[in-house]
Symmetry: C2
Subunit: 600 residues, 2 copies
């Protein structure tokens, strides 16, 4: 196998070749920054999934290394991300009590399942399945996720207990538990929220105003979560807040995760399968779109199928090393990019950094308050909520807007899977509905020319004995029957017509259903003494038609151009119109009626 | 309300106006023939659904009258039909023992449900849902039905007991019961089969050969089932075959069905809902396609939505009057058409004929052997089995062929619902896959002209700094991401390009997902110092784009023609090419690579 072929399967080879000392230095510095900045985030996202915070760190080690070797993006950082963590929590919460060993085990099984599904999608080259997830559905889901996550984290800010998979349940249980609010926890939570919000909003401009270079200012601002974590942890230790009931991360095992195989529990796997499929698709979509955004800056190319392999491998390794489902994250990648990472090696080196942290520094997390992690999550996910997008989308297209609202409300009120399924079904139905009614124009000859145009838009001349129809869409099963209905309706209102010519310049495909419809149309027309013809059929479509006996049986001709068809079938009108140059073309007998008939 | 508007809801008014004595005479004669010929068929189809044969007669009375009033087809005959009866049996068999009162009651509930669903579809104008049922799926299902029905009726021919919802179960239980075969029943069954087959195959030509007029010959041939029923019934009576264990129809209640409301049993309704939806869609599709075939002969028009209302009403009345789910049938309609029916009144009069039969002549059915009814069913449904269609479809398109085979095998081996669902999912996936990868051509300028053509097919000239791409498909969510991938891939391999022009003459729609993709593309290109432009955008698409802020934000221009775009963005190359008339156009830098890159 040549190096070229090999590097298709191991994209790292393409950058490893030219790797030099200067790049190595930049990557190492970036890795150090990355490790430091991502520790709180990774722990917070594990907590969001209802898992011990340490699992977020585990999931940042091997998966990141796998992705560095197999991924095609040079900038994507892989690890725990908000949406995937939310979905993980939603999958596991109904099955096992949070904090139990079964819950943790099931998270590993889920990661393994996600990895296997991604590899399967790659193998079947079925990445196109993500096309099912229309933008309005994803956008509605992401906004709803931001709201759900925030509601779910309020308990940590307040120091209370609440639970639920829908917004309604979360609000209800939170409201009921409000009297139990722990004031010390609340102080830490609110303090962290305000600090994180202010630094995110104004930090950079204040620092720039103080004369610090913009890039350094951005860097410092981004370290705010680390500052918040360190300060609040020190506060807990100094004031003994743990004894005042402030929940902390607690005892964290030191050392690398041991490699274990998740149990093969078929009933559990069947139960997790639907949400694993959802995580795989959503993780993949999110990851690829982040990767493409970064790749564009350097005119690099992302190969979606190879990305499925890389993400699949990353999730399988996450499952084997005590982690949780992972994906490529936007905020992770921004941090990495801004820290000056040059190649995916930076991600791998940061993973080693995580390994060192897990081996040596876990005792430092013991007194870290959970409220600060919740604050980090909330400030991060609130940017996901984009309600203006609903207005924007609704203005652009009522149908897409409806799909977005249905998804958003569905996810909040009925749960994630139901909401997404509702949105998807609506998208698919609306799509089918739109594509099922292609534009079919009655066309006539432009006086003085060989051109045929829509009678509704041009002063054209139509033959009294020949009906010319232009179909502006491929013919396949969603519109096959509409074609029948529409054509027979047009013909039934023109008893004088002897020939119908279907003009096919916009037809890229005729599938078996449409072929059947064409046969039915030809046969029905023949019963009414009308002959069907085709014109301007594209090469590939003609090749396929020749593989059936339609062309022999339908009795009509296939004309190279609509003009040729007109010249053959109604030479008198056609030649008269060609010579006609006056400004007063005959009105078309159909045009009036068609103007009044709205396109259905 | 004007008569015109009224006749939209009551299509019968349109023919009732000109109704005269001559037409009435023809209709009455046709009705008499119709009643006589359809009695055995209607009873046979009720038996096929596992119901008492009399329910087939009940279902031929009120539903036919309702359809005559509400239906838009002048030729369609409504009543029990084979496929719907098969589905009814498949729905009820797993729930209740055949012959029990619950089984019969559930059939009424099912009919009511089908009627309600059809009316709901009409109300939502959701008849387009039948587009989900692609032709290969329907064709595969119908062939499988023919086989399933035949296997299921073998027990009546053999005089044994067998059961099952899949072909495998039916074959197994039939084989096990073979030793119990009743020879007298077998003799009647085989005799009827041979007689019916021979008359159907050769009857008409033999009669014509004997000098009888073709139309009369066809008529006589079609009466064969009546002859078979009469002869075998007389044989049973004369030879006392009932005492030899030949199963007969038995005691049939005399008199009109009493009007009753089926019980409202919610769990049962939920259980029947999926198959009721299937019956509604399949019944509707079959009915409309038969109606359109007949309407075409007389250039009449079928209104699908009104058909849903008429069929819905027919099913509800079937439920209220002790019938079973009904639909428009092809063989029923042929009989009616050939008998000389002029208007739907013939159907209504035939319904009155059925009422008379039910009131007066039911004792005549007592000794009718079930084997002859089974023989009638088998000879009728074997014409449904069209295995050659698989070869034909496979040759035309592997994908459509695969959908057909999967449906056929699925229905036979796994059951009707599973098989159809498998086929539908495959169709939908293949459709999505096809539509998700639209043809995107790199275009260049034809030397000496203002035309832009595909670089793969024409010797065109491309600007070194401007990449022109023509999209031959509407842009919506199934292909939005593909557009991103493909465009970024093309750009990443052309670092010299400064402008990308998307030529949109084939784009009939840009939905919110595609808009999002265009925004992402514009942004990513901008990050690489490339500007996106559009050209030849259609009017309606432009109107919609103006409802978003894309046109302000994307930074590019929208050109009226690709030539204008080229003239603005790269005047030197464009003007040089316009003047160029030589036979040796410059080779396009992309063309070689593109020739080697297969369209994915």
């Amino acid at each position: 196998m040549s190096l070229d072929r090999l590097s298709r399967y191991l994209p790292c080879l393409s950058w490893a070749k030219g790797y030099d000392r200067a790049t190595a230095l930049q990557d190492s510095l970036a890795a150090a920054t990355l490790t430091l900045l991502l520790i709180p985030q990774s722990m917070a996202y594990a907590m969001l999934a209802g898992l011990p915070p340490i699992m977020g760190l585990y999931a940042s080690i091997l998966p990141a290394i796998v992705y560095a070797v197999l991924g095609t993006s040079r900038a994507l950082a892989v690890g725990p991300v908000a949406i995937v963590s939310l979905l993980t929590g939603a999958a596991l919460a109904p099955l096992f009590p949070q904090g139990s060993a079964e819950y943790t085990q099931a998270a590993l099984t889920l990661a393994l399942l996600c990895g296997a599904l991604m590899l399967l999608l790659a193998l079947l080259r079925a990445g196109f399945l993500v096309n099912f997830l229309s933008h309005p559905v994803i956008s509605g889901f992401i906004s709803a996720s931001g709201i759900l996550i925030t509601l779910g984290q309020l308990k940590h800010i307040l120091g209370i207990k609440s639970e639920g998979v829908t917004a309604i349940e979360l609000v209800r249980t939170t409201a009921l538990a409000l009297p139990d609010t722990n004031l010390a926890t609340l102080a830490i939570g609110i303090g962290s929220l305000v600090f994180l919000y202010l630094t995110r909003r104004y930090g950079k401009s204040v620092l720039i105003g103080a004369g610090i270079a913009p890039s350094l200012s951005a860097h410092i601002t981004r370290a705010a979560p680390v500052v918040a974590v360190v300060v609040t942890t020190l506060l807990v230790i100094a004031l003994g807040l743990e004894h005042l009931g402030v929940p902390v991360v607690g005892d964290v095992p030191r050392g690398l995760p041991s490699l274990t195989l998740p149990m093969f529990d078929l009933p559990l796997i069947m139960e997790l399968l639907p949400i694993a499929a959802l995580i795989s698709l959503i993780g993949f979509v999110g990851s690829v779109s982040v990767a493409q955004t970064f790749a564009a800056r350097k005119r690099q190319r992302i190969k979606p199928n190879q990305e499925l392999i890389a993400l699949g491998g990353a999730n399988i390794l996450a499952a084997l090393s005590g982690g949780m489902p992972v994906s490529g994250g936007f905020s992770r990648s921004v941090v990495s990019y801004d820290a000056g990472a040059q190649t995916p090696l930076a991600g791998a080196l940061a993973a080693l950094g995580f390994a060192v942290v897990v081996m040596l520094f876990t005792p430092m997390f013991e007194s870290m308050p959970r409220a600060v992690l919740a604050a980090i999550i909330i400030v991060a996910v609130l940017t996901l909520v984009d309600l203006k997008a609903i207005v924007r989308t609704w203005n652009y297209s009522k149908q897409d807007g409806a799909a977005m609202v249905v998804t958003l409300v569905g996810v909040l009120a009925l749960g994630i899977e139901t909401g997404i399924l509702l949105g998807l079904s609506l998208s698919l139905l609306l799509f089918l509905w739109r594509t099922s009614q292609p534009h079919i124009a009655v066309v006539g000859q432009l006086p003085g020319s060989e051109h045929f145009r829509n009678v509704e838009r041009f002063p054209v001349v139509c033959s009294p004995i020949m009906l010319s129809l232009r179909v502006d869409e491929s013919l396949y099963f969603p519109n096959a029957r509409y074609l029948e209905d529409r054509l027979m309706a047009l013909v039934s209102s023109h008893p004088q017509v002897r020939h119908v010519v279907l003009m096919c310049p916009g037809v890229n495909l005729i599938d078996a259903s449409a072929l059947e419809s064409l046969e039915a149309i030809a046969e029905r027309l023949k019963a009414a003494d009308i002959q069907l013809h085709l014109s301007e059929v594209k090469g590939p479509v003609m090749d396929q038609l020749k593989r059936s006996d339609f062309l022999q049986r339908f009795g009509g001709q296939v004309f190279i151009s609509q003009y040729k068809a007109a010249l053959t079938l109604d030479p008198d009108t056609t030649l008269a119109t060609l010579k006609h140059t006056g400004s007063e073309p005959k009105t078309h007998p159909l045009s009036e009626e068609i103007h009044h008939e709205k396109r259905p």
